[in-house]
Symmetry: C2
Subunit: 347 residues, 2 copies
């Protein structure tokens, strides 16, 4: 299989080792924007990939042989780049959010739908055209373990979730300062915790109220420094998602990812890479951890077998929809009703 | 000084040791409702207080000599009982919330105001008539330490707070099943975390959105099993308050109180009775803890000197106002604007 990549700004590293193991070739890379720094080719070389550089994304799509397109530029371009790849019947491995506007998300979903019509599949010679968002944090052992723990029933029905993302600000590239290119802190950072909340516990959300702030954002233009989202589930579950860039530089890790899931029978916490359970038997750490998975291995499997991995296209679309609606709530200061089914019907 | 007490359902234990030390007398107790169990007299005996039992609150107020009235019955009666005591120029030590409706809060605030007019003070012979809500958790060493830490400036300006109350459900007395008597889980449980959020960090709130649920509440009628409140501060701070009754019976403590305060320069966490700081120097536990305070000692001091303790009347009113507005938001499913200054002007 042949891979091409646009951009060097996201988490494309997920793909490198897996692509190497699978014997895939990188046949082209281009930048998505002239302001993007191309740090990618050097990383590619470390894995033994010598990759031709193209000037233009459309030209690369046209000329470089490709089965998979990795979309990895400024997030504001995600939807347009994904739509162009899907129109040509390419598999898409794409940085989250899938789009930075609901219109963009609609466009990608429409092209994904069109690419998977019988006619288009015959034309491009695939069983299925696949898309996967880079929700790779799910593959960390603590989150895989949390999912398994919740599924085991030890917590009973989940009633309330508090999820947290906290990042170091560090030096942010210039595009973070522009909402148009960056998309916002809810779709970029909080989206992971939003993704955990429905994915690990099988929740379905019906409304969201969110607030965000740009105060003390270290001079990063329109970038929000923090946000909290309050989701309501269809069975009256309540979920808070807190996201911030205030993790101090002196902290031992870049991110401080947490979940507290409150069930009828037990409470589970994910904190500092560990999973803890409190139930009628007291408090304890889980005794067995799942092993780290590989999101790109799963994606390769999906392209070969047609069986969706954990991060399916629809799951990637759903998390993006939730994050964009939460951002809308924060932008407008009002509660937003969520109806993903209706959104899907409209595409 | 003489103390009388109505009810045996709240946290009057705050007063016992302090009253004993101060050489005060308990001159009467009565129940606030015939459904209330009088477990109080036995506890009083353990401290050497032999207390006459009255049938009726008004009769007790009339006949038993008293300077301080402890209001400690079903929360739905708080406002009425407080108003009656204040009208007679008594100091009031009262379970939170101060009232279970905004109208009730207005009534208490009006009577508190009237009791402190020059004419009324001369009539009852006091320098000041004092009122204190039972926000005694503030006196625990970790919260006193958290307050001192935040005030020291090590965190910089606070931008975001996540606060948590989680209780064991246990066996709840029958009155918890009735909203009219109980008031709700936001004004009863979440109110502590709401109180910390403004009190420890000097925040002033401008709006609140809250959600609550009665699902899986163990058959306790209209009692909410959980809630999350999302507050907005006047300087764009964002605060989430999570409250639930799902702490498992097997957990080592009744409550799981937490705060995570995110500042521009550092993050502080209160968890399991400890205080942790993360800043440019890394993560650490605070090196010195404050000693436990005594809310009733402070209240005695206030009645004697006229100098408000940390839990002033206005602070008790403010936390009650915030909790009742949050409950209104959850009841009605809408965001509620907060304007305590305007509320005070209207009393």
């Amino acid at each position: 299989m042949n891979i091409i990549q646009v951009g060097s700004s996201g988490h494309y590293e997920y793909a490198l080792a897996a692509a190497k193991r699978a014997g895939f070739r990188f046949t082209g890379i281009c930048m998505g924007d002239r302001r993007e720094k191309n740090t990618t080719r050097e990383r590619f070389r470390k894995f033994g990939f010598e990759v031709p550089l193209y000037e233009d994304y459309s030209e690369m799509l046209e000329k470089a042989p490709s089965d998979i397109v990795i979309i990895n530029s400024f997030m504001g371009y995600n939807a347009e780049f994904a739509a162009e790849a899907l129109r040509r019947g390419k598999h898409v491995f794409i940085e989250k959010p899938i789009a930075t506007t609901l219109e963009g998300l609609r466009l990608v979903m429409r092209e994904y739908h069109n690419a998977n019509t019988k006619e288009m599949l015959e034309k491009c010679g695939r069983k299925r055209v696949c898309l996967c968002g880079m929700f790779g944090i799910l593959d960390e052992p603590q989150f895989m373990t949390a999912r398994k723990t919740a599924a085991s029933g030890v917590l009973g029905e989940i009633r309330l979730v508090n999820a947290q993302k906290s990042y170091k600000l560090g030096e942010r590239e210039e595009f973070y300062s522009e909402r148009e290119l960056y998309g916002g802190t809810i779709p970029w950072v909080a989206i992971h915790a939003i993704d955990w909340a429905w994915r690990l516990f099988g929740l379905h959300f019906t409304e969201v109220t969110a607030r965000q702030s740009r105060a003390a954002n270290g001079g990063n233009g329109t970038m929000e420094s923090d946000a909290i989202c309050l989701f309501r589930g269809s069975r009256d579950e309540i979920v808070s998602v807190s996201a911030d860039y205030f993790r101090p530089a002196g902290a031992p890790t870049h991110g401080d990812d947490r979940i507290r899931a409150v069930g009828e029978r037990g409470i589970m916490e994910v904190r500092a890479g560990k999973v803890y359970i409190t139930d009628e038997n007291g408090e304890r750490e889980v005794s067995e951890y799942e092993k780290s998975g590989s999101i790109f291995d799963e994606f390769i499997n999906e392209t070969e077998t047609g069986n969706p991995g954990r991060v399916s296209a629809m799951g990637s679309f759903y998390s993006t929809y939730l994050a964009l609606c939460a951002r809308e709530s924060a932008d407008k200061g009002k509660t937003v009703a969520l109806d993903f089914d209706a959104f899907c019907r409209e595409i």
